[in-house]
């Protein structure tokens, strides 16, 4: 029955990939289509407001600069709101201004699509902040990721000097994808009992006669974009484990699909742009294969239960239910954990700190690879980065100049790809080592031994992958953790995006190389295997020593 639940959700996802992918392709292909009539007038109004008279294509550098400047302005406005929220409207609970280093961490976190929350939603931010900073940035960070992915795909599949117009892509991501989808999902969630109100906190009398404060607010609106934008920052500290955010197994499935369907449809979009849909399906199949490997690891580890608890005579028939919601059980908890770390959303419906060691390894592994569907847009870019690397390695083996989609892959592209690939483990492992070496880092570890290593490793991996979930036993709301994870989030977001836009800018100008019988094909089963191999060999081996010290050592100690 548990596996059947998972299979049904997987089947629905696969059925949605093609129609959603086709829609997304038409949004960005700039070919006239039916959606122009619905959204065109609204977009023209926005272009007029922002003074965008000519939507000319941009070189990669102008595109990257536009993206960077937009982010800087959003960060500045958001930081100000966090520091002044006490004086701003919609603050019925009188919540104070956010502390400086926490404001730095929070604004970086939401701008980079991470949503690593070192504060608790119900007590740390006002309604105005929830709407004007958190919800707004959930749209803008997701739209940015979409724009980057499409620009990269244009760069590797088209010819010319330009890779699109950032502002046009950014606006279209909002008007044609995120806003309409968020309205639909919000209304569905409201119909399924998720609250949406501006009323202040409720004070009620419990059955025992005590008084209790129940936080309410505009939850459904935040909940929809939280998942659609692979953001993950919850209205409540307990995130999607809270019954107001995720009241039933049905809302759980809706939340899983809403965070998964857009990243999963992007490989199909890539296939449409490449005018060879098999290219897209090869990438999708590689992502799905890796996902099923990690899902199996999490599901069966949790189903087996915790041997230490089982030895105490506790009924283990339900699996390891520590930290999980009874209404979801093992199947919907394991699937949620696998999807939230694959799509790097970071929303949680169970506490990852209480996953079994191998279950925790499954969630860690997906974030370390950062290519198993991945976050909004950037997951596809990361996977295509490995695809180019795979082609390059095969070219070296057969002594032939590597080509990808009809372009020669030269040292300049490989230099940029090497930087992007190596940056990820570097910004995870170096800060992890620093945290272990300093009192400031060690002081927050609440579990001695192997699990303490996992806690720190998870925090920086989640930050670097722009995921945002955590092993919440780590006492991370301190200046040390706020600043170091803030910097890791920024490096994890911007280094790979800038490097990959540069690759797109380099490839878009190259002449096409005609396909011959000797051309290495990238749309068949052989390349599917090579792609998975490249991800596992390069990505997984880099982290092997660290995960041996953390989750694997913990698993072996459990017996």
């Amino acid at each position: 029955m548990g596996i059947l639940q998972i299979i049904i959700v997987l089947a629905v996802l696969v059925l949605l990939v093609k129609p959603v992918g086709s829609y997304v392709y038409h949004v960005y292909s700039n070919e006239p289509n039916k959606t122009d009539r619905i959204y065109g007038w609204f977009e023209r109004f926005i272009y007029m407001l922002i003074g965008l008279k000519h939507r000319n294509g941009m070189t990669w550098k102008k595109y990257a600069l536009s993206f960077l400047l937009t982010n800087i302005i959003l960060v500045a406005v958001g930081y100000l709101i966090l520091r002044l929220q006490k004086y701003l409207p919609f603050n019925p609970s009188g919540i104070d201004n956010m502390e400086e280093t926490l404001s730095f961490n929070t604004i970086v976190s939401f701008m980079t699509n991470t949503n690593l929350q070192h504060y608790s939603g119900e007590s740390g931010v006002s309604y105005f902040t929830q709407m004007a900073v958190m919800t707004m940035m959930m749209f803008t960070s997701a739209a940015t990721g979409f724009a980057i992915a499409i620009a990269f795909v244009r760069g590797i599949t088209s010819r010319g000097e330009t890779i699109g117009n950032f502002f046009e892509d950014f606006v279209k991501s909002h008007t044609r994808i995120l806003l309409p989808a968020a309205v639909i999902v919000t209304l569905v969630l409201v119909a399924l009992q998720v609250p949406q109100t501006l009323d202040p906190t409720l004070t009620v009398t419990t059955l025992e006669g005590a008084t209790q404060s129940i936080t309410m607010g505009p939850i459904a609106a935040l909940e929809s974009i939280k998942h659609l934008g692979t953001n993950g920052g919850g209205f409540f500290g307990a995130n999607s484990a809270h019954p107001f955010e995720n009241p039933s197994p049905l809302t759980n499935v809706i939340e899983i699909l809403s965070m998964w369907v857009l990243p999963a449809s992007l490989p199909y979009v890539y296939g449409r742009f490449a005018k060879n849909r098999k290219q897209g399906w090869v990438v999708f199949s590689a992502m799905m294969t890796l996902f099923l490997l990690f899902l199996s690891l999490i599901y069966f580890s949790e189903l087996r239960g915790n041997p230490a608890i089982n030895a105490l005579g506790v009924d283990a028939s339900q699996g390891s239910m520590e930290g999980k919601e009874v209404r979801f059980g093992i199947p919907q908890s394991a699937l949620f954990s696998a999807v939230t770390t694959a799509a790097t959303t970071g929303t949680v419906n169970n506490m990852h700190d209480t996953l079994t060691p191998l279950g925790g390894l499954g969630t860690l592994g997906e974030m370390m690879l950062n290519t198993v569907f991945g976050g909004k847009g950037v997951g596809l870019v990361n996977m295509l980065m490995y695809a180019i690397l795979g082609v390059f390695l095969c070219g070296l083996m057969v002594g032939r100049t590597p080509e990808f989609l009809g372009r020669k892959i030269e040292p300049r592209e490989m230099k940029l790809i090497a930087v992007a690939i190596l940056a990820h483990p570097f910004i995870i492992l170096v800060p992890t080592a620093i945290a272990f070496l300093t009192d400031l880092g060690q002081g927050s570890i609440t579990n001695p031994g192997a699990h303490g290593i996992s806690q720190v490793l998870y925090e920086y991996t989640s930050s670097a992958a722009n995921n945002g979930s955590g092993f919440e036993g780590l006492a991370d709301n301190t200046p040390f953790w706020n600043i170091t994870t803030g910097l890791v989030m920024m490096l994890g977001r911007y280094i790979s995006i800038i490097a990959m836009l540069a690759v797109a800018g380099s490839l878009v100008r190259k002449q096409w190389v005609p396909e011959t019988v000797g051309t290495f094909r990238t749309d068949n089963k052989l390349f599917y295997g090579i792609l998975i191999g490249a991800v596992l060999i390069i990505g997984a081996l880099t982290f092997l020593p660290a995960i041996v010290l953390g989750p694997i050592a913990e698993h072996l100690k459990l017996g």
């Binding site: 990669w60 550098k61 990257a64 600069l65 960077l68 800087i72 960060v75 930081y79 520091r83 400086e100 280093t101 404001s103 730095f104 970086v108 020669k408 030269e410 040292p411 300049r412 230099k415 940029l416 600043i483 803030g486 910097l487 920024m490 911007y494 280094i495 800038i498 490097a499 836009l501 540069a502 800018g505 380099s506 100008r509 190259k510 002449q511």
Partner: protein, 36 residues
Amino acid sequence: MLDLYMVLLLAVTFAVFYGFMAWCDRVVEDTGGDRK
């Protein structure tokens, strides 16, 4: 005062990204290989 440090940290980090962008541009424009 801490606000100033945080804003400075953000400014320096974004400046580093701009520098990285310039380095990427140099790599892309590198004439070591042909443009074919």
